[in-house]
Structures are given as C-alpha cells and as structure tokens.
Symmetry: C2
C-alpha cells in the first residue's frame, strides 16, 4: 500500500506538566533524568507512546507510574514537532498538563525508570530544563491560567475540604494577582458551587475557618443545561502600600 511509504520512523512521546499546590506556591513535578540524552538534567516527566497505545492513555500512564494517581484532571495542550527538537532523532511530543492534590502525592519511582529522582519545583526555581521543556512548560502554564478562568478546575489542586482563604490564595497564585477578600467570597458563594460542610479547620493558631467542598454534582448539572459559566477573577488593585510580600 503506497500510503505506508509516507510513514516515517519517529519517536512519539507525551510530556506531562504535573501541577500541585502546597498552600504557598504553584508547583511542578520534575524528574532528574537517569539516561542520555540530558542525563542528570531536570526534565518534564514523559514517555514514549507505544505502538498500540492511544496518546491520551500514554499521558495517563506517565502520571500513574510517577504518582500512582488515576482519574485526575488531564488536558492536552500543544504538540511540539520541530525536526531538531530532540538530539537523537525525530521525536514529536504531545504536551499535557495535569492537576493533582499535592498532599496525595507519594513518590512511586520504579527501579529502571527513566528518572533518578523526582521533586516539586516552584515555577521561579526552574531553569535549564532538558530539550525544549521550558517552552512546553510555558505553554502549559499559560493554558492553566486561561482555563482556571473558564472552568472550576482550581479545586483539583486542593484537598477535598478547603477553606475560602486557601481557595483565594490558590487563585491569586495561579493568576499572579491579588483579590479582594470580600468580593472574592461574594462571587464564589454566589456561584452556588460550594457546599458549606459546617466543619471547622483544626490545629491552627488562630480563628479556624469553615471548610467547604466543591459541588461537582451541581457543576455537572449546570454544564448539562448548557449554562455558561465564567469564573472570571478580575484583578484587584491593592493600595500602593506594603508592596513587598517577601517572607521574613
């Protein structure tokens, strides 16, 4: 069949930007490569797609083998296929990002994995990634910032029970902005997508906050009804005092 003449021998990979949130910063899970090329370099976790494997399944496999997590939010972002992006030959990679609850992460590194180690990095720490992984990361970060405004995916990064302050801080971190507390709460609660659990935080050295849960049932209903939903978090111009937010 003449079609097959047009087939080429290439590597197809998926790379996965795994995001987590530790109540302070947005983090990304990177691996230290244990193989050439770029041995000992930090890189995005990724795998070759098998010849009988759907691409989305390969992305899930990366996640499963590195974190032992399944059924997490996973979204395809962009495909990178420049001829020379990989030093060993033609490798085309499909980039995904996923959102996991960092608290549920335990390293699952296997012997024989392509990775020596894995570690969470905050975005500002990251430098000298292997291949074109910085470009891939940037693309996924950009997509996350976009998505977070049109889908209620922030909850994927928080524990099942969270406080409104945690949620606000998450959005502030992702969007790199600051938000007004009262207006944030007003808007969030108006969406009717949060269940007040009538429980309080424990073990904190201050007034404990109420715990909430995301109402995914109701969200599904809204989507099913085709109701537009915009999680539009506008910027809040803080008073130009106390500009430095550096920890002492």
């Amino acid at each position: 069949m003449s079609l097959l003449n047009k087939f080429i021998k290439v590597g197809i990979t998926v790379d996965n930007v795994i995001f987590g949130f530790d109540d302070e910063q947005l983090k990304v899970l990177l691996i230290k490569r244990g193989e050439e090329p770029y041995i000992n370099n930090w890189a995005l976790p990724g795998y070759f797609v098998k010849d009988d494997e759907d691409i989305a399944d390969a992305a899930k496999r990366v996640l499963k083998e590195l974190t032992n997590l399944q059924n997490v939010y996973l979204e395809q972002v962009e495909t990178f296929g420049d001829v020379h992006r990989h030093p060993s030959g033609r490798v085309i990679t499909v980039a995904y990002y996923s959102l996991i609850k960092i608290q549920s992460y335990e390293s699952q590194l296997q012997v024989g994995s392509i990775a020596q180690t894995a570690r969470w990095f905050s975005l500002s720490e990251i430098e000298d990634l292997a291949f074109d992984h910085q470009k891939i990361l940037d693309s996924c970060v950009k997509r996350l910032k976009l998505r977070v405004q049109s889908r209620p995916i922030g909850f994927e990064l928080l524990p099942p029970k969270f406080t409104l302050s945690q949620l606000q801080h998450l959005y502030e971190t992702i969007m790199e902005t600051s938000l007004d507390k009262r207006n944030f709460r007003k808007r969030l609660l108006a969406m009717n997508l949060l269940i007040d659990l009538d429980e309080l935080q424990e073990g904190v050295a201050h007034r404990p906050a109420k715990l909430y849960q995301f109402d995914s049932q109701r969200y599904k209903e809204l989507v099913a009804q085709g109701k537009g939903y915009i999680f539009d978090l506008k910027e809040h111009k803080r008073k130009p005092s106390k500009v430095n937010g550096v920890h002492s």
Copy 2:
C-alpha cells in the same frame, strides 16, 4: 542507541480546517479525496509531514498547495492519535485551523494531488466526513469561537476594507448569536483598533456604508505594552419576533 528502539513507524499528518466567510456564512474548505481510503469522500485537507519538515511548516504547505496563500493566520488546535483512527495503520494527526479571505481564494488543485476537487461548505451542510474529521472540525470550530473573543482575528476573514455591518455579521455568524447594532459599534470604535478610511461602499442599492480597516499597528503596540485586550461580545436578546431568519 537504545532510544531508537522506542521509535515506531507511523504516519504523521496535519489536517487543516480552512475557514472563510462569504458575507453570509462561515465556510470551510473541504476536499474530495481521490485516493483510498475514503476515496470520493469529503475530508479536511491534510498531508503527511515529511521526515525533515517541521509540523507547522507542513500545515503551511497544505494551505499553500491548496490555496496558494501564505502568511495567513494559522493556529494549532489539537492532536488526534487514537490507535485506530486511520484504517491503514497508525496515523497521528495534528489539527490546525486557518483563516483566509475567501475572496482571494482561487482553486489551485494540482494534478496528482490527493484531492479530486475542493469546495467551500457551510458548517450545516457538512456530513459524512472521512476518518475522524468531524471530530477534528468540531474541535477547531470550538477553538475559533473561543479565540474570536480574545484576539482580533475576525479581520482575517474579511477583505482589507470592510463595513461595520459586515464585521458585525461576521461576529454574529461565528458566535451564533445576534448583537445590538448600536452597542456593537460603540464597543468596536471604543477599542480604537479601526481606521476610518473616509471611503464609502460602492455599487450597493442603498445607503453606502463607510469603510474601515483594521489597525494592526496599534494592536501590536497594545500587545507589546502587555495591555490586556478582550474582544468580549456578549449575547443580545432580540425581541422574540421575526424568529425565522430563513431566506425566501
């Protein structure tokens, strides 16, 4: 090199959803396949990526060979790589869409092309596309609807000189909504992205409209200054009369 063991023999293709606008409807350029599989079926124009060709270049090549157009708006959307999406073997396709001025299109079909013919279809006419092309098309249409609200790309579909009514009708068509004329004009002009050419339409059997041009210079400046720009066209609830917009 053990890496190469993981390379597989696959077809890498690009498929391109080429959009045009004929002052009435949003159109998509399809080809009638002249080869197996799906011979005589309508399909998205696409090609195999060559082994020394960047993927984005392959997408440009599709466009160039079918329309003889270059330097048009082209955006990658999604990669489809399910194992069985192509009957002849593993073929992974990267979907792009492009926006062209339909008036400048002239068929450039080459002898020996994979296409027998090419023709513009309105979205509602399209059925029974080859492969998973309907899915690809849907994905690109969805993306276009999104993008049109965050970037001034509508102009790519109009002639260089256009009237405000044409522009409004374009947006109404893409967004599948109707917009209030006065509010539309107010908002558009407030953006300061249109140059009033002080010219009038000619050859129309009614009051001629003023012609405008998109000020891409100014748009670049705004982007360079990092000024957020939202082309946010909300829905307009028309009076519930004259619901049928069918032509006589």
